[in-house]
Amino acid sequence: MTRTDPAARVAAAPVAAVRPPLPVKLVIAGGFGVGKTTAVGSISEIEPLTTEAAITEVAAGVDDLSHTPRKTTTTVAMDFGCITIDPTLKLYLFGTPGQERFGFMWDDIVEGAVGGLVIVDTRRLDDCYAAVDYFEHRQIPFAVAVNAFDGKVEHSLEEVRWALDVAERVPVVVFDARERGSVRDALLVVLEQALARTEA
């Protein structure tokens, strides 16, 4: 014979209709037009979605409603996609604007990420310095992926590594953001980095 504890019933939390998966997040960073959204779209099971976030609101941390919140001055678009691993696990890929001035936005997106992929256009290496610095300072496992536009890479990987001054342990690879298999392999490089970190 079972009895229901009345106290437990009162305290019972609302029940989710469906159990959600555990979300694992990877961040894809790089300058404007470098292929972030293309890469996400190549492997995501859904068409990449876009949401807007305003960096001043994220940065201001308004904690008192009596204060006038700072006006939104910059809205950034964030593209993302996902891959269902199984019913209990889902991989999210968030493309984040790479420019330095979006630093606040980065914290908001990157918090909790297992790793990052910095996409590089060798014609515009400057655009990815901020992302490389960010991941290094936050000690987030990451890899650098040179996007081979039209199958061409203008500099050797050693030149890219030298120019970016990344640590020896950071993988630098060439990939094609349009090719699913190529994006998959680049993401695997990041995940292997993340896994190695847990086992270090």
Binding site: A13, P14, V15, A16, A17, V18, R19, P20, P21, L22, P23, V24, K25, G33, G35, T37, T38, I43, E47, P48, L49, T50, T51, E52, A53, A54, E57, V58, D63, L65, P69, A77, M78, F80, C82, I83, I85, D86, L89, L91, Y92, F94, I109, E111, G112, V114, F149, E179, R180, G181, S182, R184, D185, L187, L188, L191, E192, A194, L195, T198
Partner: protein, 138 residues
């Protein structure tokens, strides 16, 4: 993609919403008075109670609870309902407080666990490339 040429794909922003984004949150921009914003991948899912009162909810609240029949991230919710990310956060928190949504803030320790990472790696390896060929193992 030369300088000045937008990347291919759909218009990344879409039409501007007709209502000023934070009107629906009564001007609130942070989800809680003290806490940090929940991560963008935070999963939200409707409760049985939320679904039971669905017809009595209005506008965004109705749309959010209805959409969350299927668990999804705050980011997906915002994108699909064309809400500003922080508006989605605020409204989700309101609905959680009302008992209509469950908000699963991811446990960083669990997600960074080696066994979880291995499962993701294995599943990714099984994804065929565009030609439908399964990649050889390492």
């Amino acid at each position: 993609m030369a300088d000045g040429t937008p990347p291919p794909g759909p218009d990344p922003v879409g039409p501007a919403p007709a209502v000023r984004p934070f009107l629906v949150t009564a001007g609130r921009v942070a989800p809680t008075a003290a806490g940090r914003p929940v991560p963008v991948e935070t999963q939200v899912v409707a409760t049985t109670e939320g679904l039971a009162v669905l017809d009595g909810l209005s506008f965004e609240q109705h749309d959010i609870v209805a959409a969350c029949r299927q668990p999804q991230s705050i980011a997906e919710l915002a994108a699909r309902l064309r809400l500003h990310l922080n508006v989605a956060r605020v409204l989700a928190e309101d609905l959680r407080a009302a008992g209509y949504l469950v908000v699963h803030v991811p446990d960083s320790g669990v997600i960074h666990d080696a066994s979880v990472l291995r499962r993701v790696i294995e599943a990714l390896r099984a994804i065929p490339d565009s030609r439908g060929v399964i990649r050889d193992s390492d």
